[in-house]
């Protein structure tokens, strides 16, 4: 994977040469303009407050802080407009040229509800959507989402809490799976008697320790989760420190990967093409695409 990434990284540097120049030029222009505006405002305020010289150091520090915030947001904005999706697209297209990233919220709450990962939520905030076709010709959508629920605090003020944050993806299968199958991370609350309905006992103790499997047909559930498939999921969890959760319903394979931070965000204080950062994006994208393809292949191989 590392060798493969090195080639992609070199290609990325080559392809984005001109865009980086445009980005740098735009950033320079915006920052100069912002500095000029802040300087003019500061001078005007200082002139008005001529008699309050004691306030000068405070006002200057305030202006500097304000300028830093403006510069960071300008840089982030320019990066997101010019470079972000170009970088992500090159990384995704290294897997399959049909893959395309954009910022459209293509996964709506109805689709997420269908996956039955969370039933009781109020809204979904989404960004960075990847659409494409897997190598097994199944169409595929991947998006970073936050599933949120409205809560009232003691003072009656409403705010949203995250029920889930991470990557959610859907693979459209060319077959219909007649049962509902769900694999979620083990939780003590899942062991309550009313939640144990349709819970399957699996023959891998290491898998059982981490996951709960639910299916309304025991045989079908066991057919999907062979020893090999369970091991694949455990290996993924070990390697990438992510717990994939799976739901299979009709012709849709839903997978979600809880990640407790913004996943594909550039740290503005790092280089534009920081090797480690781009590598982390690449690992995230390729690992999720690969496990989705792998698992969908396992389902497609089944003689349903």
């Amino acid at each position: 994977m590392e060798n493969n990434f090195n080639t992609i990284y070199e290609e990325l540097k080559e392809k984005l040469k001109d865009d980086i120049l445009v980005y740098k030029k735009n950033v320079r222009k915006s920052i100069s303009l912002a500095t000029l505006i802040v300087a003019i405002i500061l001078i005007a305020i200082l002139l008005v407050l001529r008699n309050f010289t004691a306030l000068y150091p405070f006002l200057i520090i305030l202006a500097i802080i304000f300028l830093v915030i403006v510069c960071v947001s300008l840089k982030t904005n320019e990066y997101n407009n010019i470079l972000k999706y170009k970088i992500l697209n090159i990384l995704a297209q290294s897997y399959n040229p049909t893959c395309k990233f954009d910022n459209s919220p293509s996964i709506d709450s109805k689709i997420y509800k269908d996956s039955t990962f969370n039933i009781d939520f109020d809204r979904i905030v989404s960004e960075d959507c990847l659409n494409g076709v897997l190598n097994n010709e199944c169409s595929f959508t991947f998006q970073e989402i936050s599933v949120q629920k409205k809560v009232k605090n003691n003072k009656g003020k409403i705010h949203f809490i995250n029920l889930f944050h991470g990557i959610f993806c859907i693979v459209e299968l060319p077959i219909i799976f007649s049962y509902d199958l769900k694999v979620i991370k083990n939780d003590i609350s899942n062991n309550l008697w009313f939640k144990r309905k349709n819970k399957l006992e699996m023959d891998s103790t290491s898998f059982e320790k981490v996951y709960d499997v639910y299916c309304n047909n025991k045989i079908a559930g066991m057919q999907v989760f062979t020893a090999d498939t369970m091991q694949k999921i455990l290996d993924f969890k070990e390697k990438y420190k992510m717990y994939p959760e799976i739901s299979l319903k009709k012709n849709n394979l839903y997978m979600r990967f809880p990640i407790f931070k913004n996943c594909l965000e550039h740290n503005i204080f790092k280089n534009i093409l920081d090797y480690k950062e781009i590598e982390s994006f690449y690992i995230l994208i390729s690992s999720i695409i690969n496990i989705s393809e792998n698992f969908s292949n396992d389902v497609l191989d089944l003689p349903f």
Partner: protein, 177 residues
């Protein structure tokens, strides 16, 4: 006296719960066993079609067909899972014959049979895994203290796990020409 009655009552409740749990586990095993039987029967019902289809291409292997038909009849009489595993393995072996006869391999009827038998084999494997999980749960309860005492009192005996590989080794191997 009251304490003694309370303790006796608690013990009685515990015995009842454990006894019911053993019965539940034993029934689960019976249920898994019967689903294996259902899948085996479904699979074996296709044997006459398979034999007719394969026979047309390799008549000289008459003995194999005769043997599998006899084994199948034996299974229908005994309903013993071990016998079922033997017939099942022989059935897989006949399917493997197709590899040696390109004409047979290309036959549409044979391809359909192969597909259906493969589907049933897959379901059968899942049913066997469920059976083994149920047997392990039941056997664990028999071995573990204090439920082992209840098992002894009510004569709950350990069940055998299904080992497909072992069954394959024990099966009478059909010799192909």
């Amino acid at each position: 006296m009251v304490i003694f009655i309370v303790i006796l009552f608690v013990i009685l409740i515990y015995v009842l719960i454990q006894y019911n749990s053993f019965v539940k586990k034993k029934n689960a095993i019976e249920q898994s066993k019967s689903s294996i039987d259902v899948y085996l029967t479904q699979r074996f019902d296709l044997i006459p079609n398979l034999v007719t289809c394969v026979k047309a291409y390799c008549e000289h292997e008459e003995s194999i067909f005769k043997e599998i038909t006899e084994l199948r009849s034996k299974y229908y009489e005994t309903r013993n899972l071990k016998d079922g595993a033997i017939v099942n393995n022989e059935c897989n072996d006949i399917l493997a014959i197709g590899e040696n006869y390109p004409d047979l391999k290309a036959n549409t009827q044979f391809i359909n049979l192969q597909k259906n038998l493969q589907k049933m084999e897959n379901q059968l494997q899942a049913a066997r895994r469920i059976y083994n999980i149920d047997v392990t749960n039941y056997n664990n309860s028999i071995d573990m203290f204090p439920s082992s005492i209840i098992a002894k009192i009510f004569h709950f005996e350990k069940e055998e796990l299904f080992d497909a590989e072992e069954e394959a080794k024990n099966s009478t191997k059909i010799k192909y020409n």
